[in-house]
Each structure stands twice: as C-alpha cells, then as structure tokens.
C-alpha cells in the first residue's frame, strides 16, 4: 500500500482538515489519491522493440453540490497544491447549502490479491517468453510475415479520503498478454489477434505453456481470414458465438443502461424501466465481484463495494448502473459502478463484467435454424450512439451460413443494429455461456477502463451486415 504523505510536506491530518473544510455543505465529494506502476514489453519484427516503465502519482479532489461537480487534479501532493485545488473547488461552488452524505456501504470481500505482477517475474524471463512466442509461431507456418507479442502489467494503489476522514483503500493488479500475427499468401495479407489477462500474476495465465494456445488461436484466426470471401451486404440472421462476442451486449444495451445518460434522459432506454426490452429468456447482469476478472473491483473509485447488478431479468428492464451522484439525483443507491480511468478524470457510472446468462438451446440448433445468414465468432471492437441507440461492432472472424450449415469464412465486416430493439430479436439463447479471455477496454468520454463480457451463443433474427457483396 502506498503512503501518499510520506514524502510530502502535507500530513494526513492536514489533508483531512482541508477535505472536511472544502466539503462542508457539499452533498458529496472526496480526495482520490492514486499511485500506479505499469510496464510494457513488446516484441515486434523479431526484436524486443520496447521495454518501458511508467510510474504515475497524483490526486483528484472532487466537490459536488446538487448536480454540479467541481474537480481539480494535480501530480504534486503538497500543501500548496491541495490548497490551490480547494480554492478552485470553492470558487466554482460559490454558495453551497447541502448536507454531506457520510453513508457508504462496507464489505470485507476482496476479489483479487494484493500483488505487484511486475515484480513477480523478472525482465529476462518475460523477454525469454516473448522470444519463444516469436520462434514458436514462425516455425509453425511459413506464411507468417509478422509476429507481435507483448506483456502489459500494472499495479494501481488507490486511497479515497472522505469528509470527516473516513478512508477506503484498494490495490489492483492487472496484466495482459497479447499476440498478433500477420500471414501473407499469394500477395494477400491477413492478421489474427488473441490475448489473455486479468487481475492475477503473469504466471497464472502462462503456466503449462498456456502461451502456446494463445499463439495457436491468433494463428488460427489469421489462417481463417486468409481464405475469406467478401462479406454479404444487407439484413440477415446472425448467430453469435459465446464469450467475447458479448461486446454486442456491452454496446447495444450496456452503455444505454448507465445512470448518467438516463438521468439526463439522453439514453434511448431512459423511459423503459420495468418494461420489456428483450425476448423472454434474456437475462443480463453487470458483475464486479467475480474473482480475478479484468472488470472486477473490490471497491469502485468512490469507495463503494461492487456488486452483481441485475440489469435485465427475463426480458424486463430492472436496474441502471449507478455511481453516487447519479444515484442520489435519481433517488436510488449506488451499484458500485463509479469508475474513472485515473486521478485525472471525474467518476462516471461504468460497466464492470457485463454478462448475458445461459439459456437452454445449443449452438447447433441455432445454425440449423438459419437459411441465409452469418456466424460471427470473434470481434475487434464496437461503438454505440447512446441517443439514437444505433450500435456497431466489427467481426474479425465470421462465416456464412447457408441452409443450416456453416460455409466459407467471410472478410471482416461491420454489423449495425438498434440497441433498444435488438434484444427483442434474440430468438434462441444457448446453454454455453463463456467469459471473454480478459482483454477488453471500454471507452467513454475519453476515459478507458478495463472491463469484461460474457454470453452464451445467441441467434438474432435480423441485423444489417456491412459487407461489399450485394
């Protein structure tokens, strides 16, 4: 755990006094301190291209009065700097007359260990594995023209000091291991990308030569794409594979169910609470409490313990995801979804691990039910326009389905749909729910945070596929 006041001219009790003085008569607010250490080691083009280390330290001071948020952040943890921030907040919130809400739920549960993954494996060992990855892949297939592999490791220590001195802390490890390959055959180039990660040591993900299966998967995707035909264009049935394709859920409904957009009534879902927004059998939760998952958090960035929030239950919209600000203004409670990329940013309600739960049909049944459509297995990324509800995601591995059978692979294409109506088009829910491999980052208002997704195979009656073949 970091001692943020150790090398500062500012003592903890002085900081507490400034915080309490600034936040009196505010409705909420806190001082958020963060110390993060991260590393990146990259192999590319047969060489170790980059070995870098970052250490980041700073605070963000927030005061909230009614709907207004005043925020100030700095890298310098000093008496001067905190006082300047305090003045800044006070000058924004000129005449405050609220009552500070001291209530914050408590929990002893922890969803990951207090470790520093960077220190648990030496640089030489990491470089050795990256070189092995490169040699392994290049010896497997002569068509391989490029291999990129990298390790990203991080340990983030946070401390939240509230008015009155209540203090909440968390230490968050996070790692990611990625492999990307490019194949070239007969003048055509295609890539395949795969990775694993979460809130454990590198070795938890690499033991028993597990890195080889990451390499194999990246190579498999690239090989499939090398044989792909142009994708069709137009509306058709779509079968989504289990696991990572759940970024459809994340984009199509997840963002639209975040508290801020609904309080502001700019989400296409804001007036649909308690109504049917999905087919029967569709249940979606956002869960921050799964051990060691990329999107899990012991406490959120306001200090609220995370939970498993039911968003949609058997087709009915049940809850939005809330931070403290939006929960107070919507007269409900925080769901432990208040997150920020780092101390430079304000808190927003965000997703953690967003999951559609299993039903009872098989993927086989779904494929058989499609005359003409596509089977999408892997995705790059997605995006949504919250207000119109339209969302897209990009296939990186997909096949055509013809008369109930999986056919040729098709080129990467964008799929587009309408968030509030897409889940009503889900006609089969599989029994094969799977978590993603732990590589997702969600962007909102310029802030990236690690998230997870999960789903079983699903059949969607109608979506627009953005290929080039008419």
């Amino acid at each position: 755990m970091s001692n943020f006041f150790e090398k500062s001219d500012l003592s903890r009790s002085e900081a507490e006094n400034i915080i309490s003085d600034t936040l009196q008569k505010c409705d909420d607010g806190e001082l958020y301190l963060e110390n993060s250490k991260s590393e990146s080691i990259l192999l590319d083009d047969n060489k170790i291209k980059n070995s870098s280390y970052n250490s980041d330290l700073g605070f963000g001071f927030r005061a909230i009065s009614d709907e207004v948020v005043a925020y100030s952040h700095s890298n310098e943890i000093s008496k001067n700097s905190l006082k300047q921030s305090s003045e800044n907040l006070k000058s924004t919130l000129k005449s405050v007359k609220g009552t500070y809400n001291h209530e914050i739920p408590k929990s002893n549960k922890k969803y990951y260990e207090n470790i520093n993954p960077i220190e648990q494996k030496s640089l030489n060992e990491k470089i050795k594995i990256l070189n092995e990855v490169n040699n392994y892949l290049r010896s497997k297939d002569d068509n391989i023209k490029q291999v990129t592999a990298n390790f990203l490791g991080e340990q983030k220590s946070v401390e939240i000091i509230r008015s009155g001195g209540e203090t909440l802390t968390d230490v968050r490890p996070l790692i990611r291991f990625n492999v990307s390959v490019m194949l070239e055959k007969n003048g055509r180039k295609e890539t395949g990308v795969y990775g694993v990660g979460g809130r454990q040591s590198y070795d938890s993900y690499l033991k028993d030569d597990n890195w080889k299966s990451v390499c194999d998967e990246a190579l498999r995707i690239a090989s499939v794409n090398l044989e792909s035909k142009p994708a069709p264009a137009g509306e058709m049935k779509v079968v989504l594979g289990p696991g990572w394709p759940a970024i459809l859920i994340h984009e199509a409904v997840g963002h639209g169910l975040e508290g801020d957009f609904n309080r502001k009534k700019t989400s296409a879902f804001h007036n649909l609470m308690g109504q049917k927004v999905a087919s029967e059998g569709v249940t979606i939760v956002d869960d921050g409490t799964i051990d060691n998952r990329r999107g899990s958090l012991t406490i959120d960035d306001e200090g609220t313990p995370t939970e498993k929030t039911v968003l949609i239950e058997n087709g009915i919209l049940k809850n939005f995801m809330q931070d403290r600000l939006n929960a107070r203004l919507m007269k409900t409670k925080s769901t432990g979804s208040g997150r920020r990329e780092n101390y430079r940013h304000i808190v927003l309600p965000r997703m953690r691990n967003t999951m559609m739960l299993s039903g009872n049909q098989t993927q086989d049944e779904m494929i058989k039910a499609v005359d003409k459509g596509i089977f999408a297995v892997s995705f790059g990324g997605g995006q949504v326009d919250i207000t119109s509800g339209k969302f897209v995601f990009n296939c990186t591995e997909a096949y055509e389905i013809v008369n109930g059978k999986i056919g040729s692979p098709i080129k990467g294409a964008t799929l587009i749909g309408d968030g509030p109506s897409i889940l009503k088009e889900v006609s089969m829910v599989g029994n094969d729910m799977m978590m993603d491999p732990g590589i997702g980052t969600c962007g909102k208002a310029g802030q990236g945070v690690p998230v997870g997704v999960a789903q079983p195979s699903i059949l969607i009656n109608k979506m627009t596929v953005g290929g080039t073949k008419l």
Partner: protein
C-alpha cells in the same frame, strides 16, 4: 500557471546528467507541463468545472544499441533517481537492436521559429460561463432540442525536448476549445449531434451563438431518419468525416507500418494511388496552425512535404528508427503528421452535390472499421439521401464499405477546404462504395 522553460530545462538536464553518470551512452528526455481549465454546462446551467495540472517526464536511455524508457508524473528528484537507475538497469538487460539510436545530428532542428502558437490571454471561469450561456441559449431556442451540453476549455502547455547530443528546445502552446452537443426529439426518434471550435488564440474562436445554432440545426435535421436498401451508390463525406479518411492514409504511410510490412501502401512510393487531381500536403509552419511545430518528437526539423503529387505517392512519414531500417532519412515525422490536408479540388460544394442524380451525404460514422493491412473499410453511418443536389431525408442504421485501394482512386474533392482541425479535407465524394441497409 504553466511551468516556465527554466524549470523544465533544469529537470531535463538533471536527467541527462544522471543517465550519463549511471552508464547510459546516449539519452533523451521530454519534460512537459499542461494546465487546463474547463467549464461544462448542461441545459443552460453550470454542470462541472475541472482544473488539471499535469506534469510529465519521459526518458529514453541507450547503452550502445540497447534501449529502454521510463515515464512518470512525479518529478521529485528522489523519484527521478530511482526511475533513471531502473531505466539504465533495464537497458542493460534489453537485447540489442542495430537500428536503435538518437537522430543524426545534422537532421536536428537548428532554430525554433515563432509560429504564433501561444496566446497569453487568460479567460476566467466567469467569462467561460458567459460564453456558454450565450451558446446554450442559441442551441436550445428550438423546442425540438431537449438536452444541451456544452463545454469551454482553456489549455496552456509547455515542453522541453533535450538529448545527450546537445539538442535542447521547447516552446509554449495554447488552445481554446468550445463545443456544443445537442439532443433533439420528435414522436419517432431522438438524435444527437455536435459542433466544435478550437483555436490557438482566444480571439479567433467561433462566435458562441453561431456554434450553438449550428449544433442545434445539425441535430434537428437528423430527426425521423429512414433506413434505405442495400446498393452501390456515390458517397459524399462531410468534411468532418473526410478528414478521417486522410488520417487513415497517414497511418498507412507511417514508416513503422511500412517497415513491418503491415500496410496496403507498402512499396507504393512513386506509384499512382489517387486520381490525377489529388494532392496531399503536410505543412508544419502554418502560423497559429493546430498541428504546427518546429521539430518532431525526436527533435528532427520538419519541412513541408508534398506527400501526394497529382495522385502519386511521394513520401512515407519517417522517424529515425524505421528510417534506418528502411535505409531512408528521417523527415521529421516521429509522432505523425503536422497540418495535413488535401488541396482543394476544382468544383464547388454545390456542384459536387449536383454531380449525381442520387447520392448519400455522410455526417457521422461509428465503429473501428479501417484495416490498414488489407485496406478494407466498413463502418456504421448516418447521413442524408441527396437527390439532384437536394437533401431529401435523414438516414441511419446503414453501413458503408469498400477498399481504400479502390476508394482512393475514385475521390473527387470540392473546393471548400478550411483549417478547422490539424488534419483537414474538403468535402469528398467517392464513387463505387457499397451501402448495406434493409
């Protein structure tokens, strides 16, 4: 107040000295400070104020052909000592790469011209609030507008780049940015759109009322969109989307993508990749330019480059490392382009709209659908159906797709270029793309 040159230089030279003492044969350092103040409004009321003061340092050390780097926001000497020691230690343990080195000394910038990039004016939050009040009142005058969010940011930055070859330079820059996001609603639909203005000098910023009105109009006209059928049709890209196609072109000619063999434009120098009428320039010395600079992020001087001359690709964007790998000299593009733009075409916006009996005018795309390895392009889009030069009705929930290799050859540009961003394009028409809809 943003830190002065003296403070940044002192930190930089401390780091270079320490790296040398600890065994680095060469090193470089960037120290920067950026102070910004933002005020956000929502529905004509103050919503958020945000002040940020960011310090950062990044150091790269070399031992012969070995290299490693560190970065930090904590500039206290104690912390720098630990980090530089770690950096040198990591450098020792990192394998050699024959292409690692500082830039050639004769390529480094010799002079720092004043490009008029810093406005000393300080705008108080109360003045920002006045601007946003005017903006939001104009934005919400039509009752179809149900939500307005707007923002005003003042940013002042300063930096120093120094290396062990004696290079040491940096300068202040400023920016003033206002934006307006509006939501409009009718019985059938809810839509969002925006308008934005960013300038180095406060006095050049767009008028608040104009900005608000523009955002509102652009949103209202999107209401009650239709979905159209799948077909091959001419696409007209609004300037704010056309500039993204130019950015994709820039990433495909970056020396890193070229040297790694992961670009569809590899080995295309001196070949025709656009039609005859297309010229692309990267001009770093535009006064008050949003992308203007004296040198790149390695200190290499940046001259104007005509990247594409009458459709022919003339240059890649080259940094030191990839340049050495490709046996080419750096042209000062480490960190990318400066002020990048398509030169004007020779027909007016109106004539471009009129040139086809039917076309799609695209105002927004979503998704990450540009693949620079294959050149494939497929994104979600919203816009308008244009018939005989007139906007007929809004459309959404469609995708547009093609391959850049073909798209580039079928570009027609209007003559309405302006310098609103660092990368700019006139309105652009591309024929032969596929729309997927119903």
């Amino acid at each position: 107040m943003v830190k002065d040159q003296e403070f940044l230089e002192k930190k930089a030279s401390y780091c270079l000295g320490l790296a040398k003492k600890l065994g680095a044969t060469e090193s470089s350092v960037i120290v920067n400070n950026s102070v910004s103040e933002t005020v956000n409004f929502r529905n004509k009321k103050l919503d958020e104020s945000n002040r940020s003061d960011d310090l950062g340092i990044s150091i790269t050390t070399y031992i012969g052909k070995k290299k490693s780097s560190i970065s930090s926001s904590n500039l206290l000497d104690d912390n720098l000592n630990i980090l530089i020691e770690k950096c040198v230690e990591t450098t020792k343990n990192t394998p050699e790469d024959e292409f690692n080195s500082l830039p050639d000394k004769d390529l480094l910038a010799k002079e720092v011209k004043d490009l008029d990039l810093y406005d000393d004016t300080h705008i108080e939050n109360d003045q920002k609030i006045d601007y946003l009040k005017k903006l939001e009142s104009a934005a919400s005058s039509d009752k179809k507008i149900v939500n307005t969010e707007s923002s005003f940011t003042q940013n002042k930055s300063n930096f120093i780049l120094a290396n062990s070859e004696g290079f040491c330079a940096g300068y202040k820059t400023s920016s003033f940015t206002a934006s307006s996001v509006t939501v409009a609603k009718d019985e059938k639909s809810m839509e969002r759109d925006y308008e934005y203005s960013s300038k180095c000098f406060l006095k050049d910023l767009d008028d608040a009322e104009e900005l608000g009105k523009q955002a509102a109009n652009q949103t209202i006209r999107k209401l009650s969109p239709k979905k159209i059928g799948s077909e091959k049709i001419a696409i007209i890209f609004d300037k704010r989307i056309a500039k993204g196609i130019l950015s994709t072109f820039a990433s495909a000619i970056s020396s890193s993508a070229i040297s790694r063999g992961t670009s569809f434009l590899k080995d295309k120098v001196n070949q025709k990749i656009f039609s005859d009428t297309i010229n692309v320039l990267d001009k770093p010395d535009i006064l008050k330019g949003l992308g203007s600079r004296n040198f790149d992020s390695e200190g290499v001087k940046t001259d104007t480059l005509k990247l594409v001359d009458q459709g022919i690709l003339k240059h890649y964007l080259i940094d030191t490392y990839n340049g050495k790998k490709l046996n080419l000299k750096s042209n000062g593009r480490c960190g990318g382009t400066s002020n990048l733009y398509f030169e004007n075409g020779n027909i007016s916006f109106k004539d471009l709209l009129n040139s086809k009996s039917k076309s799609l005018y695209i105002t927004e795309t979503i998704g990450h659908g540009s693949n620079i390895v294959t050149g494939d392009y497929s994104v979600g889009a919203t816009g308008f159906l244009v018939e005989n030069g007139e906007f007929k009705y809004p459309i959404n929930e469609i995708t547009i797709a093609g391959n850049f290799k073909d798209m580039f050859k079928n570009i027609t540009l209007a003559n309405d270029l302006d310098f609103k961003y660092a990368t700019n394009s006139p309105t652009m028409m591309i024929e032969g793309m596929v729309v997927a809809g119903k």
